[in-house]
């Protein structure tokens, strides 16, 4: 019975993902056709229609989520491919990412306090700039909710990649390295996609920033966030 559930929920997830990806590609990769949102929506619809509970579906979670480990490890490759640029501009890149990560988290906590969000909400928002597998792990330590974090990361990526390039141009940030780093630091995977549309350099830098911002945030978040209340 249990095995059957696992196979069924795995099949459902794979099917729904393939369908969402198909829609996304058919829709010319429109940012609003976010594959994660579409898939989640479809899974929930199927579960509701067939009267299944989350607990019955969640049997496949451990198997699928396991691969987030190797997927994060894989981020070493964009870092490695751009190591020469990293070496050359190490100071601007590292300072920029540190600035971005610190200011992003601080603003999030401040905004949370101002608007009266619960502690769990604020702690789920705080790591939202980094790529989902790292954000989910950080959330575990600082007391955020994993499902919320994943959604917030996706929404943040959506907003940042939609308006980021225009904002950067308005601010006269025209340097390809600076644009790529800013997009990768604030929009993670979606920043890389937008960066690649602008140019090879922007895309490569966004990939590098995504990996580095993950490391930087993982290092400072567990120390910084408990201090801010």
């Amino acid at each position: 019975m249990n095995t059957l559930l696992i196979v069924a929920s795995l099949g459902l997830t794979i099917g729904v993902y393939s369908l969402s990806r198909f829609i996304y590609l058919r829709g010319n990769k429109h940012p609003l056709l976010n594959v994660l949102f579409l898939s989640t929506f479809l899974v929930i619809v199927v579960l509701r229609v067939c009267h299944f509970t989350y607990d019955e579906y969640v049997s496949c979670k451990d198997i699928i989520s396991y691969f987030l480990g190797p997927a994060t490890v894989a981020l070493a490759v964009p870092l490695f491919k751009n190591r020469l640029v990293l070496k050359k501009y190490s100071i601007p890149i590292l300072v920029g990412i540190l600035f971005g990560s610190l200011s992003g988290m601080t603003t999030t906590v401040l905004m949370g306090n101002v608007t009266g969000l619960s502690r769990t909400m604020t702690m789920s928002l705080a790591p939202k700039f980094v790529t989902i597998p790292i954000a989910v792990e950080i959330a575990k330590y600082i007391g955020g909710d994993q499902a919320l974090v994943a959604v917030f990361v996706a929404v943040t990526g959506l907003i940042s990649s939609a308006f980021g390039p225009t904002l950067l141009t308005r601010l006269k940030v025209t340097d390809p390295v600076a644009r790529g780093i800013a997009l990768g630091t604030t929009a993670a995977g979606q920043g890389v996609a937008v960066g690649l549309q602008e140019g090879e350099m922007q895309g490569a830098m966004a990939g590098l920033a995504m990996a580095l911002a993950g490391v930087v945030t993982a290092l400072i978040a567990p120390m910084l966030l408990p201090l801010m209340r």
Partner: protein, 239 residues
């Protein structure tokens, strides 16, 4: 094909597992997958793990990364009310922090002077490059700037190769510089090699800046809009 993918994913899993073990044994707050990533990066830099050992699996995993989050996000069906209640505050928090972080990161990196500082001119010039263990190669440039050149080469030189470059042109005179290959790409039958000047006299550098600025005005400069915006023109070198 699938066997290869499995085997490559296995390598990544080992790094992930080692990272998790380190986190657990040392009781650190750094996620195990981040430690695994840093370890893999170090091993790749040391040359123990070559890019081709893992590249296919990496491409597949990064391309389909969103798939692995679906079960986690479906967990929202139990906390939908929460988002609905504080929706506005959430959006406000996200928008404000995105604007702040984007602005600070972008401006910090740009002000600290990363990236190209030079105008680039697309022009074919004769260039001779000599490496330490290479016979002189006479080829053409694809573009040139005060910071480096891109050359069209039949021969692929490895990234990091140190070179002696000599450019001769009736308008420029003779320019000598030491450079390093920083980028390579394959285009049709040839290769494009990006060479950064590591050692060049101030006079020659100014001559190049001057040249690109003059040519840039009426010759074909780099046409991609994103790049064309990105060069600051050093005004003291205008004539």
């Amino acid at each position: 094909m699938y066997i290869k993918l499995l085997w490559q994913t296995g390598i990544l899993c080992v790094f992930s597992w080692v990272g998790t073990q380190i986190t657990e044994r040392l009781h650190t707050s750094i996620p195990g997958n981040v430690i695994g990533m840093v370890l893999l990066f170090v091993f790749m830099c040391l040359g123990v793990i070559k890019l081709q050992y893992i590249e296919d699996a990496v491409n597949v995993l990064l391309k389909h990364m969103l798939f692995f989050f679906i079960p986690i996000v479906v967990g929202l069906m139990n906390s939908g009310d929460l988002i609905y209640k504080s929706g506005l505050a959430l959006v406000a928090s996200i928008v404000v922090s995105v604007v702040v972080a984007l602005t600070l990161t972008g401006i910090a990196v740009q002000k600290l002077g990363a990236g190209r500082k030079y105008l680039r001119t697309e022009i074919q010039l004769a260039i001779q490059i000599i490496g330490t263990d290479l016979s002189p190669i006479n080829i053409l440039t694809e573009d040139i700037s005060g910071g480096g050149v891109k050359v069209i080469s039949k021969q692929l030189l490895e990234i990091g190769t140190q070179l002696n470059c000599t450019i001769s042109n009736s308008k420029l005179g003779i320019i000598k510089a030491n450079g390093e290959v920083v980028r390579t790409e394959k285009k049709d039958q040839d290769f494009r090699l990006g060479i950064n000047f590591t050692e060049i006299s101030k006079r020659d550098r100014n001559k190049l800046i001057d040249f690109t600025y003059r040519m840039g005005e009426h010759a074909a400069i780099n046409t991609s809009e994103a790049n064309a915006r990105s060069y600051s023109i050093p005004l003291e070198n205008t004539d």
